[in-house]
Amino acid sequence: MDRNLDIAERVLQSATGGRRESEVSFLQGLLSDIGAGASAAAAMSPARLYRTILGGGPASEDMRNALEIVARPSERPDGALRAGDWMLRVVPGTGDTGHVTVLVSDDLQAPSAFVADGIDAESAQDGQYGVVVEAGAFPHNRSRPFARRWLDGRGRVPPHSLVLRPRRRQTAPTLDPPASHPHTLDPLPLDPLPLDPPAPEPPDADPPGIGLLDGGLLDGGLPDGGLPEDGSLDGSRDQDTAEDMGTFTPPAWLKVERRSRRVKARATEGEAVEYDTGETQGWVSDDGFVAPPWLKIERRSRRLPEGTEFAPEDEAFTFDPTGAQTDFGPKLRKAWHELLKAAFKKNIDEATNEIATRLRISTAAAAKHVRFFSPASRSPAVMLSAKNVPWRAFPTSRGAASPATYKHFDELHADPTTGAMLRDQDEYCEWKVFRDGAGKIVRVVFTSEPPEYYRFLHNPGVASLTKFARGLLVKLYQERCGSKAVTLADLEITAPSGDKVYDPGNRWNRDHCVHLQQPNNTLGAQINIAALASIVMKDASGALITSVSKLIPCTRFGEASRQSDPFIGDNVNKLARDNHFVTLQNPVGLYMVSLDTSGWTTPDGTDAQKFWKVIKGKVDKSPGKSMIVRAEYAVPAGKGYTVSDIKIGGAPIEFGSQIAEQLEMRLGALAGPKDKDPEGRATTPPPPAPC
């Protein structure tokens, strides 16, 4: 494959001209090399090739004879990408602006891995990156390495991108690109295309290669709803479409209505369509839909940028199950989404009402003070930047760590309200210590699964799902507890109404740490803190409150004695003060990130990290993105020693608390751009509300 790359680099050397011309010249050199039809190749630009291949027709067939489609936009490739694969990118709404790049190596990696090697990556977004050969304003090759994002965090090709594989290898020993790739294209607009930044930017930067947000694409767009009341994107095209409609199968997101002799097309809820001025014919959507000639498509709202939680592929936004778990089928997932959607609404409403009452203003006016939003009700049309809030799992609510506090948090304590014996671990992470007959620790199980997850399974809110969900509830308990003895009745308690309800304090949870049990460790608390902390406040003297210790008693969120609540509140309120809108990362959760075992020693020298086992949740190469909800620290039986024989900084592990002290947690927040609301409209900071 190196040979192919040699050729690509030689093609690159001969690709001359400005950014645009060199892109075209480079592509034509590559096409010529693989034997694509000379006449077709001579007319190709990256954007045209993209549309040609996805658009069908004879030209597409020609190209597909030479190029295999590895993955369409937002598709997962069936196999691994290979060195020599091409990626085409287009920027919708910009006419013929596109880019072609050739993969140098098939070992795709996270951007941080490249940065560690001193290689710039085009962004720090989650995903799989590979070094490329490419033209453009800043050409790259193996001696000037640069990594581009080939797959997103879910292993899919990014939107507006297409991965192709030459069907036959480049074998031409020599190339003469200047002669064989005449510049016969129509004059092309030379709009700047931020495909290639000179250096990697932090995650909150606009991702290169997208460039959708610049230039006021939303200007003149629709008000709040994004679509006109009748949902039409274009109701004015006056032509007979009967014949066309006879063979036209619209994609799922496009609703086509016949009204007299007019055709109305409208996007389904949550969808938006962009137009390509002057190039209605051949317009190709992300999923490969090619607009028929009779269909005029106009953009009425901005397509979402790549890299947010709510990228185009997620436009029908759903709250995913905490920890990106796969326990649920589609129906339960939908029901879970409704649960979270309601929780967001409830907490936003509460925050709004709090302000309305305090300021004696209408709820509509009060809503402007709440800078927390639900992506389920306000589909964001802006780039959202991730903000992690870290803390440690070991609580600080009982003062500094000591053998006494270690012991306290390892044990159950009577709940002051109910008298039930519960864990008192109040940093959104709980653990259970398992000891052998000699009192030595053999295993410590950690959970950050919210009680809502299990309560939901007991009552998913959809009668037809209840039986199935309860079966799943028992199954999950049996798995967590390693016992088939768990029954539904064990997990229930009789409410004063006489109904059977889910009991988070059930003995199986108590004994096996199935999920969070401490009364304040809930997803609801997390959402509540974020909603209330998003209100900017002022003190009696009129001064802006910036200290979270003053904010907590004022807005009444969370517990000041915790590490997590104040730090979450501090970060959210800071963003609100800076006039950002804030929401929570999807899937919403409070996650374990990593266990720091540096300075730990084991009796046989085994790396202490090997005994940390993630049981449930997502582990990311970049720990700050991990979403771990269940894990355990245990020494395999054959080792001949126990967890108690391991030392942390020379001190033997006597309590699970000592491990919790080294366990990092995180909450992921998302912030919109400064001075913009989620819909992308300019917004001014609300006046601080009096405390």
């Binding site: 992690n388 590490q563 900084g649």
Partner: protein
């Protein structure tokens, strides 16, 4: 108007050793490390030394006398010389002299285990062959265990050396063996008062609360905020501009500490836990830190030249980049107050800044800019001084009111040997090494996402490859990889600096037994 609490505890300054508070602050400071070969003889020898140990009161009065003389002369006095002596003992030394059972009553795990065994926990390399591993230490560690350290300080080097020889002779005759000597000298750095990378050091310290029954000060830490009413909101929390008040129990045994969530609330019963004889004592960290100025400046120059290509309009030059890594310019001027150039701030203004909010009110005569910098656009979140002291910002610990208990009393001094080895003899006092020095190292210095997310590791103190620094440039953060180690330990141990009464009573009593 907020007023400082009047019930600050009375400090027994005649009992506290003087390097704990107010600190020796002399041009020469020698650390003579010893082991105990004959416990009975050592008890007798050390117990007799109580009269030669410099108390906090003595050192404090000496400093006042020196200041008065300087004020009268208008220059540093030539003849006003002092020689101070302190002794600290490691857990092994105390165990030998007093008994392990007593030592075990200290709550502090780190002190009882010792620095060498904790070394990888606080970020020293795990591989024995790597520089900085305890196996290669010159003092402390498996090859050079020590039971105690004799500290001598003076501006008069010959006097210091003469006294050191006498004491070493007495120690040798008293059942102790001299294992190692480190010679601190402020003159070895590029400029006095600066460390070897070239930056002014020793600027920001906590102000220990507590009263002293002698004139001229009611409070041990004089309250010197301007009298203007505009400064009233600061008086309850600061002794001087930027000089945060911290309760004595965070440094000295036998006194209370703050309420965990409110630094203004004194909890007298919340004393550090240890044996009864620990009263007026303090735990001392000693780290022999070798600095590599050549490696540091080469990294800075190389990085600056790369940035000049990637960000030609806004790349910092090498001096500015170095200042951003430290958080201060060579003069000590905080980059939070002057991000673009070294404007040579002096006096109280050097320490008068905060991060979450703009520091107000302005100090009289202080024209340097003040601005809030919560996101680290002026002073990077990862700058050394910001990593170890996030000031008014909330942290991964929660509210910012939880930060003062992590403070330490730094008493370090630069050193250089004829062989080219140079660095800092780092000394810090506190009442819990685990919760203070080690917390700072493990939780803030060595982690990339604390005390604020996306901070990166401490570019100066963290070691090894794979570190990152987030440089504010063009309004964004640029991640810079740091693969070289600039500072590494070549020795160290944890000690307890007992009260003078410990030598006079406990040790004398033990010697009689």
């Amino acid at each position: 108007m907020s007023t400082p609490p009047k019930d600050e505890p009375l400090l027994e300054l005649d009992e506290i050793q003087g390097n704990v508070v107010p600190g020796f602050k002399k041009n020469h400071q020698h650390f003579v490390f010893f082991s105990i070969s004959d416990a009975a003889a050592a008890r007798t020898c050390l117990s007799k030394l109580h009269e030669r140990l410099s108390s906090a009161a003595e050192v404090f009065e000496a400093h006042l006398a020196w200041k008065r003389l300087k004020a009268r002369l208008g220059r540093d006095p030539d003849a006003a010389q002092f020689l101070f002596v302190n002794i600290a003992l490691s857990a092994s030394g105390l165990g030998t002299l007093i008994g392990k059972a007593d030592v075990d009553t200290f709550a502090d795990t780190a002190f009882k285990i010792g620095q060498a065994e904790r070394s990888t926990f606080i970020g020293d390399p795990a591989a024995k062959t790597d520089p900085g591993h305890a196996a290669g230490w010159l003092v402390g560690g498996p090859k050079h265990p020590v039971d105690g350290v004799l500290i001598l300080a003076s501006d008069d080097l010959p006097w210091l050396e003469d006294e050191s020889k006498k004491l070493e002779t007495e120690f040798a005759a008293g059942g102790m063996k001299i294992e190692h000597k480190d010679r601190g000298d402020v003159g070895t750095a590029p400029r006095a008062g600066h460390e070897h990378f070239g930056f002014k050091d020793d600027i920001s310290h906590p102000a220990m609360r507590g009263r002293w029954p002698k004139a001229p000060y009611d409070f041990l830490a004089p309250r010197t905020l301007p009298a203007d009413k505009a400064f009233d909101p600061l008086r309850a929390d600061f002794a001087a501009p930027g000089n945060r008040l911290v309760w004595p129990g965070h440094f000295i045994f036998g006194y209370g500490r703050q309420n965990p969530d409110d630094p203004r609330i004194y909890e007298p019963a919340n004393e550090p836990k240890g044996p009864t004889w620990a009263r007026n004592g303090s735990l001392m960290v000693y780290r022999r830190l070798r600095q590599h100025p050549d490696v540091f400046w080469r990294f800075v120059e190389d990085t600056a030249s790369v940035l000049a290509k990637t960000n030609p309009k806004s790349a910092p030059d090498k001096n500015r980049l170095a200042a951003l890594l430290i958080g201060r310019w060579p003069s000590g001027t905080p980059v939070a107050r002057s991000a673009d150039k070294d404007i040579g701030i002096t006096g109280d203004a050097l320490n008068y800044f905060s991060y979450a909010d703009k520091q107000v009110p302005p100090l009289p005569g202080d024209a340097a800019p003040q601005a809030a910098d919560p996101d680290g656009l002026l002073c990077p979140l990862g700058a050394h001084i910001r990593k170890v002291n996030p000031r008014d910002q909330a942290t991964d610990l929660g509210i910012s009111e939880r930060t003062p208990p992590r403070s330490i009393l730094r008493r370090g001094i630069t050193y250089a040997t004829r062989e080219g080895d140079k660095g800092l003899l780092f000394v810090a006092y506190q009442s819990s090494i685990t919760d203070q020095f080690e917390f700072l190292m493990r939780q803030w210095v060595n982690k990339p996402d604390t005390p604020r997310n996306m901070a990166g590791q401490d570019p100066i103190l963290a070691q090894g490859r794979g570190r990152v620094f987030h440089l504010p440039i063009d309004g964004k953060m640029k991640e810079i990889a740091i693969t070289k180690t600039f500072v590494e330990a070549t020795g160290g141990e944890y000690f307890f600096s007992p009260s003078i009464g410990f030598f006079r009573k406990q040790l004398a009593r033990a010697a009689k037994k």
